[in-house]
Amino acid sequence: MSDAASPPEAKSSPEPRSGSEAKPALTRRAFFKGAGVVAAGGVIGEAVHASNARAFGPAMLEGQVEVELEINGAKQKVTVEPRTTLLNALRNHCNPPLTGTKLVCDRGSCGACTVHLDGKPVYSCMTLAVDAVGHKVKTIEGLAPQGQLTVLQQKFCDHDGSQCGFCTPGFVMAITACLERNPAASLDEIQNACSGNLCRCGTQPQIFEAALAAGRALQSKGGK
């Protein structure tokens, strides 16, 4: 993050050089540039994209572009740049911001940014927001209705599955996907499912207990 204070680059990039948290300012120039791309290239929907591609060569996204993401079942238009990660889009470009997905390593090593893309856990820091167009994104906010917890989230509480809690959303997303595929997942399978998630407090034993307990509860309830 030290280079967030470095001077802006020649291409007037509104995002800091390596940090990915800052909100881009929408400049008049960038707006028109982006709007032009939307009109000429078609960013929303594969059909538009494909038909334009045939007529004018491949579609391109440049500068600020408006894309439609489907997040937690609701479609939302967000203005991003091609380089904006899905993680950054969720946290800083969505309205309201979805900050349950955490930024930690930003390099696909820690798992704190885990979300589901078409039901599969992925690192949102290693996914471009524009690559998520046309796919279903689910974040920690979308697992249970407002004010409620999923079985797994409740078991995390019951079994003390968090210490500082910063890694918790990522673990919950990784294990949720595992239990959705197989509520009877063994300890080995659960460990494998969240081997790409780090907890530096060392809460893994309780996390695994919570996951196994959730699996048992889900089996007796017959799924969900």
């Binding site: 990039s13 491949p58 391109m60 820091c125 996914t127």
Partner: protein
């Protein structure tokens, strides 16, 4: 990450048209192709490449196909590692390929990471990955690992660069006798996967494979392995997920208790997947016992020149060879 233009071609013709010319070596990194992004995004974030255009391959139909015919497999460059790992038929016929795919990174990485991306990923050497270190891989004058901290570097085939190839799939697919289908501006060509990868001493030191600037890996074809047993054994410093310190891709065809044919390829020890042909020949006609494993281990690591901090890879690789061969003989 520096901003770029994101291009969405819908055919391979469009993809190769967007790429630089076949001889544009100096400007080749102005355009990068994007598949699963699990390596490219890291490179972009570390400013190791700053392309003007990123060409998304995911809009090209058919590139993710994974098909089998008479035991032979065609694996599209955009097939995910998870798709390989979870394919029961592939696991049955080409166990080593499914095992190697399943050993890559974490669940999250395997869900997005692709076969093409895994084979074409750039080295993990920490000097290469450091933005400020202009090492020989990045056009500099020297390999900093050679005289520096080289715990994770090559013991075989090194010089003038001492990277190890980071791919798990590469040794497995080379052992399976795969070929790579490559598409460029002039059309298609196929290359034995073993010849796809280049040593720093024989190809351009700044690259790890034969792809010209105008080329893209399209598909990997794997011949049938009827009658073979195979496995991929990987050792990592951190068992949850990591790159290989050393790995062994082994395949044997055993007849009447003796080896009739063998393939042995090492990962994590050389700048390319390291085929051990002498060891393969020595295996033929022998039964797998402690003496065979010892002889094969010696032959496989013949010529190894460890650096200051990685001599541990010698006994490690030999141990993994024993483990792999024993597993296949008793399976």
């Amino acid at each position: 990450m520096k901003n770029f233009t994101y291009v969405m071609p819908t055919s391979l013709e469009q993809v190769v048209e967007l790429l630089p010319g076949p001889r544009d070596l100096k400007t080749r990194d102005r355009v990068k192709v994007l598949a699963g992004g699990q390596d490219l995004l890291g490179e972009l974030k570390e400013h190791l490449v700053e392309p003007e255009q990123v060409v998304n391959l995911k809009g090209v139909p058919g590139l993710a196909a994974l098909t089998q015919q008479a035991g032979a497999w065609q694996i599209g460059a955009l097939a995910t590692l998870a798709a390989l790992e979870e394919n029961a038929a592939l696991r049955a016929s080409h166990t080593l390929v499914a095992e190697a795919a399943g050993s890559v990174g974490s669940t999250q990485i395997r869900n997005q990471g692709t076969v093409g991306g895994n084979l074409c990923q750039r080295p993990r050497c920490w000097y290469y990955r450091h933005e400020q270190a202009v090492c020989i891989k990045k056009g500099g004058a020297e390999c900093f690992a050679y005289g520096g901290l080289n715990k994770y570097n090559a013991i075989l085939g090194g010089g003038p660069s001492y990277i190890v190839h980071p791919s798990d799939l590469a040794p497995a697919l080379v052992a399976a006798g795969a070929t790579a289908l490559i598409r460029g501006k002039k059309g298609e060509r196929t290359v034995e996967l073993e010849r796809f990868f280049t040593l720093p001493s024989e190809g351009a030191v700044t690259r790890e494979n034969v792809l010209a600037p105008d080329e893209v890996l399209v598909r990997v074809d794997v011949p049938a392995m009827a009658g073979w047993k195979s496995t991929y054994v990987k050792f990592r410093e951190r068992s949850s997920y990591d790159f290989a310190l050393a790995a062994v891709a082994a395949a044997l065809r055993i007849e009447g208790g003796k080896v009739a044919e063998a393939r042995l390829v090492l990962g994590g020890v050389a700048p390319v997947p390291w085929r051990c042909e002498k060891a393969e020949k020595a295996l033929v006609g022998r039964k797998i016992d402690a003496e065979t494993c010892r002889v094969v281990g010696e032959l496989a690591l013949e010529g190894a020149e460890p650096l200051a901090h990685n001599a541990y890879k010698l006994p490690l690789a030999k141990g993994l060879i024993t483990k792999a061969l024993t597993k296949l003989a008793t399976a």
